[in-house]
């Protein structure tokens, strides 16, 4: 009997609770107060399956709420001509804008009950399969218009973020540059599955002369960031390695350089088409002069490291450095060493100018 009484007395509370949840007839949405009060636009009432955010937010309406009412042409005539709401509310796709006035117009001083929850996917999958990035809107509490539609089209799958975009001022990286938000260098922070370096051979140059690069043989401690994108952009074929780069400590040669030396020590380690280096260095160079030619033999200078002369004062390119006797006397080019102290003086012409 007691149990029955308890049940009966608790019934009103149960029903009160149910009705409190069910009778949530308060209006949520965006409250427009200009030019007339008030129209409340509710995203929830526009949640049809055929709609995506981009249906309206790709020209009709800004992502930022209440921007529309800042326009001077936000009047009913514009709607009749197909602008703003009138793009659909023309009588065909939805009820015409000049009928059922009070269906949207709620009278003076209509109040919003609560903040509107706009319809969007909380978690968006960027990219397919394992390479993808799981984006969570919850972790990005900025307003819609800080990213949409300027950075991202508000439609899933519309934007493709490529490896080449990393590090450029596009998509996520306008903020994820290390200043406004964490830098993108740590792949695992965004990519759901660990990202591995691409396999296979990347050819620098074409044909036989090409240098074959393999990621497998390169695993620096700092990971991808050691080389990308400072030294090499993520785009295939974008890097062009100049002859002079071998000396300037650029691209590969940031690492592939002997201390205080050049990278020329073992050409055929990368250039597989080249013969193994001669002990003496490259071949003889012929300098044509008005008098007798000078034949420069690298072998006679082989005891020195390449970077003693290269790239200064001698450029790596044949014929690039101009040899002027007067300059040599002043200590330029050959005269740097051939000044009588380190090696024989330049005055001794016949030692170089020969048949």
């Amino acid at each position: 009997m007691r149990n029955r009484l308890i049940f009966i007395f608790s019934l009103p509370f149960i029903f009160a609770g149910m009705s409190a949840v069910a009778a949530d007839g308060a209006t949520k949405g965006i409250l427009y107060t200009k030019p007339l009060e008030s129209v409340i636009f509710s995203h929830a009432s526009h949640a049809q399956k055929e709609f995506s955010c981009a249906t309206c937010h790709s020209g009709l309406f800004e992502m930022k709420a209440m921007e529309a009412q800042k326009n001077k042409d936000f009047i009913m005539d514009s709607l009749y001509k197909g602008k703003y709401c009138g793009a659909c509310h023309d009588g065909k796709k939805a009820f015409a804008a000049d009928t059922q006035c009070a269906r949207c117009h709620l009278g003076f001083g209509a109040k919003l009950a609560a903040e509107e929850v706009p319809l969007f996917k909380k978690n968006v999958k960027l990219g397919k399969s394992a390479k993808g990035v799981a984006f969570s809107h919850d972790k990005h509490p900025q307003s819609c218009h800080s990213c949409h539609p300027s950075l991202f089209v508000p439609k899933e799958g519309a934007d493709k973020v490529r490896m080449a975009d990393h590090g450029r001022d596009r998509y996520c990286f306008t903020c994820h540059d290390g200043e406004k938000a964490f830098a993108w260098g740590d792949c695992s922070r965004c990519h759901t599955e660990p990202v591995s370096a691409p396999g296979g051979v990347i050819n620098f140059g074409q044909g036989k002369k090409a240098v074959a690069f393999r990621h497998e043989t390169h695993k620096p401690k700092g990971g991808c960031k050691e080389c990308h994108p400072k030294l090499f952009s993520f785009t295939k074929g974008a890097a062009k390695i100049d002859f002079d780069d071998h000396l300037r400590q650029k691209s590969c040669f940031v690492c592939h350089t002997k201390k205080n030396a050049t990278a020329f020590y073992d050409c055929n380690r990368c250039h597989t088409d080249k013969k193994p280096p001669k002990l003496g260095g490259p071949d003889t160079l012929t300098y044509k002069t008005t008098m007798q030619n000078v034949y420069f033999h690298h072998e006679s200078h082989s005891e020195f490291a390449c970077n003693l002369c290269h790239p200064a004062p001698f450029a790596m390119k044949k014929g690039k450095t101009k040899m002027v006797m007067a300059e040599m006397f002043k200590g330029k080019t050959c005269g740097l060493c051939h000044n009588g102290k380190m090696a024989f003086h330049v005055r001794q012409c016949a030692r170089c100018h020969k048949q």
């Binding site: 007339l36 009060e37 117009h105 009278g107």
Partner: protein, 248 residues
């Protein structure tokens, strides 16, 4: 009085008039007075009824211009711009109102779920307020049919406020009299502006003000057609209002 003197009594000058005679005379006098008074009261009622007898309608519009307003309620969006205009033009205090918007929610309706109905003084053709006023401070203007106020005569008894079926009157402290909508007669119509402030302010063309007796006027065309129903509020009071409501 001795009976033998009775036949000659009338010809003689009596020394004193008896009580009974006096009473008879007074009763006769009262009867005659009452007949006159009652007759004049009756004639007063019939004089008013001569203009608009109850439950009958005049053969043609009695006023020139016969001001009226057509309110198209399907267009009203409750923006209250008409109320603002009325208040600013006619100096309506915050505690009173000359026109207001009634709002009705119908959550189970299909499509539009609310309705806005503007109301104001209906400028009735048989106004209960005019009949009720004890001092004739309110009267129906003979030329244009607007129910006007004579503020000097008003004693603030508020009988007209109770009599009005549309709750259109309020006591104005500043004027010391009852105030009500006069179709902006004092502020606009009498100064050559042929439109009321509320109908001019409405952005949705809800209120149409005009002369019902003129066949070329817009209100005439709106009222005298059978396609769209036209109705008045509280027809059963017999007040014969001049504010017409319609949809479409």
């Amino acid at each position: 009085m001795p009976k033998e003197q009775a036949p000659d009594r009338l010809l003689e000058k009596p020394e004193n008039i008896s009580e009974l005679d006096r009473r008879e005379f007074l009763k006769m006098g009262l009867w005659i007075t009452g007949a006159f008074a009652g007759g004049s009261i009756f004639s007063a009622v019939s004089a008013a009824a001569k203009v608009f007898p109850h439950d009958t309608y005049a053969a043609k519009y009695p006023y020139k211009p016969h001001y009226c307003m057509v309110i198209r309620v399907d267009r009203c969006i409750g923006c209250q711009l008409c109320m603002d205009a009325c208040v600013s033009v006619n100096d309506v205090p915050s505690y009173g109102w000359r026109t207001k918007i009634l709002e009705r929610q119908a959550p189970k309706a299909i499509g539009q779920k609310r309705e806005f109905v503007p109301v104001l003084c209906n400028q009735c053709n048989d106004p209960p307020c005019v009949r009720a006023c004890p001092v004739t401070a309110t009267y129906k203007d003979r030329k244009n049919g607007i129910v006007m106020m004579d503020n000097k005569k008003c004693i603030g008894c508020k009988i007209c406020m109770a009599a009005c079926p549309y709750d259109a009157r309020y006591y104005c402290e500043e004027k010391g009299a009852i105030d009500k909508c006069d179709f902006c007669f004092e502020t606009r119509l009498s100064r050559g502006i042929n439109n009321t402030a509320c109908s001019e302010a409405c952005p949705a063309d809800v209120r149409v003000f005009g002369d019902l007796s003129d066949p070329k006027d817009r209100v005439y065309k709106l009222v005298h057609q059978l396609q769209k129903p036209v109705w008045v509020l509280k027809k059963e009071t017999g007040a014969k209002p001049n504010i017409f409501y319609m949809k479409g």
